[in-house]
Each structure stands twice: as C-alpha cells, then as structure tokens.
Symmetry: C2
Subunit: 159 residues, 2 copies
C-alpha cells in the first residue's frame, strides 16, 4: 500500500471556510471540477466529472472544520476502493490542509501522475480560499499529454 500525501497552508482563511470548500457542491466545483454532482452528506455519493471520465465518491466522514473522508466507489480501476482524506487545523494565521489519498495497491505511473495532479488541485483550493478564485477542471493547469488528448480517467474504458 502506498499513499499520496500533500500539505498546503491557506493564509487568512479558516478551517471552517476550508471545510465548506470541501463539503459543498459549490465549494468543490470552484477548485476541483466544475462538473460536481451528487449528495454531499455522510453516506451520500458525490460524482466528480472531467469530461468523459470521473470519480464517484462515497462520503464516509464529515467532522466540521476538522476532517473529510471519502471512499472511491467508481472511477479509474486503480482508484476504486482507495480513500481520500483532508485534515484541517489552524496554525497562527494559516489554515493547514493535510491531504492523503491512501490504499493504492501499486506505485504505477498513473499514481505518479495523480500525485502531482492532486498538488495542482490543492493549489487551486488554496487560491480559491485566498483570492476567491480557484482553477477547477477544465481550466486547471495541465501536466502532460494524457490530459491534452483526453482526461486520463477516460482510459478506464479501455482497461
């Protein structure tokens, strides 16, 4: 089992504002993908779409201003069953987001890609909370040819 870990600090925000950006469709669609659907409550399923592909996430845990935990129900094969958590805390002027995407079976090349891509989206979350403007899909920073041709998630269909 290998994990993707990230940390960003958000200036002059609050764990509560970060929590809102992670638990409301409006918030999620402002930093991850504009095409965010579904039911953002414990036991509910959120649908994140990136053109042809995407992820279905079951909400496992919501602790206001503290923690969010999802589990991947559907999406690229490598993601299914993995869990994604966001832990929030305040440190001085900074709201800290500790991100973990855990339960990957193997460190395949797609995992390398997803790790860097999560960083890109977490910087979008940071920007949203600091400036009011994130860069959700389809306007996020592109990393490589996989994304130029089509969202990588769509290759699941070929798997």
């Amino acid at each position: 089992m290998v994990d993707i870990l990230h940390k960003v600090g958000i200036k002059s925000s609050s764990p509560n504002d970060a929590y809102k950006a992670l638990t409301t469709r409006e918030g999620l669609s402002a930093w991850w993908t504009i095409d965010t659907r579904g039911d953002s409550k414990v036991g509910g399923v959120l649908l994140f779409r990136f053109g042809d592909g995407g992820f279905d996430m079951k909400v496992l845990e919501f602790q206001p201003a503290k923690r969010v935990l999802w589990q991947v129900l559907d999406g690229p094969q490598e993601w299914i069953g993995t869990k994604i958590s966001f832990d929030l805390k305040q440190e001085g002027d900074w709201t800290i987001v500790l991100f973990k995407h855990h339960g990957w079976k193997e460190p395949v090349e797609f995992m390398y890609h997803c790790s860097t891509k999560w960083a890109v989206f977490l910087l979008s979350l940071k920007s949203l909370l600091e400036t009011g403007k994130g860069a959700p899909w389809p306007n996020e920073f592109k990393l490589d040819g996989w994304e130029e041709a089509a969202p990588r998630a769509s290759t699941t269909a070929a798997a």
Copy 2:
C-alpha cells in the same frame, strides 16, 4: 518506508535537455535553488542551499537522457539517507519526468509538505524547459507559514 512520487510532462523538450537541467549547476540553479554549488558528477557532492538550510546530495548515478539518482548526505534529519531519482523518457511530443523521493522512515507532516513542495519545483523545471524561465528558490511559489518565516530546512538546527 514511504515514497514521494511525481510525474510531469514537458512539451517540445527532450530527455537530453531535461537531463542537462538535472545534471548541471546552471540547470539546477534555474529551477530548484539559485544557490546550487558542488560537483555534479558521479561520486561528487552537490550542495543545494535555501538561505540558512539546505541539502547535500551525493550523486550516485547519471545515465545520459535517462536517469539521475542522488542520496542525501546532510539536511533535515528526515531526509538523511533518503534517495531522489529522476527517470526520463520520450512519449510523442512529451518528455516525461518520473520523480521519486524514497526511503522516508515515517509519513510525518514534513513529508506532506515536501511532497507538495517537490510538485511546485517540478512545475518550475517544466516551466524552465518549456519557456526558458523557471522559478527557483527564493522566487518559488510558497506553500505555508513554514516558508514565510524561514526555510523549513533551517529548523534542522533545532532538531
């Protein structure tokens, strides 16, 4: 043991150009830190400085246009003994960089920070090779309060 993994694609570059950016002081100082010193050859030691702190890396492996491997001799305690590799390949119009920082003993919070920070610097490498301009320290994108006060590496002194 836990690893930090990343992948970036660089458009209209070549594995050879990426290799130069990873193996010459001129290249390294244009995307990682402007204060890069030492001897960039197998068996040599490179000194990367970020103000008060930094990393000393022994060069373990150079495979032209293919692979670079360093081992950390000195720096923050958590880094000592870890290894950092860059694997290069061409895929169509894209030069692919697969990055691995391996040998972390524990997934401490500093590892979360370093993971995201490596993404920031790899995006700087991508920018350098695509546009001629990277964002090395001290002009890199800042992630959190650790960096605002002083480079995190300097806290080693307190460890």
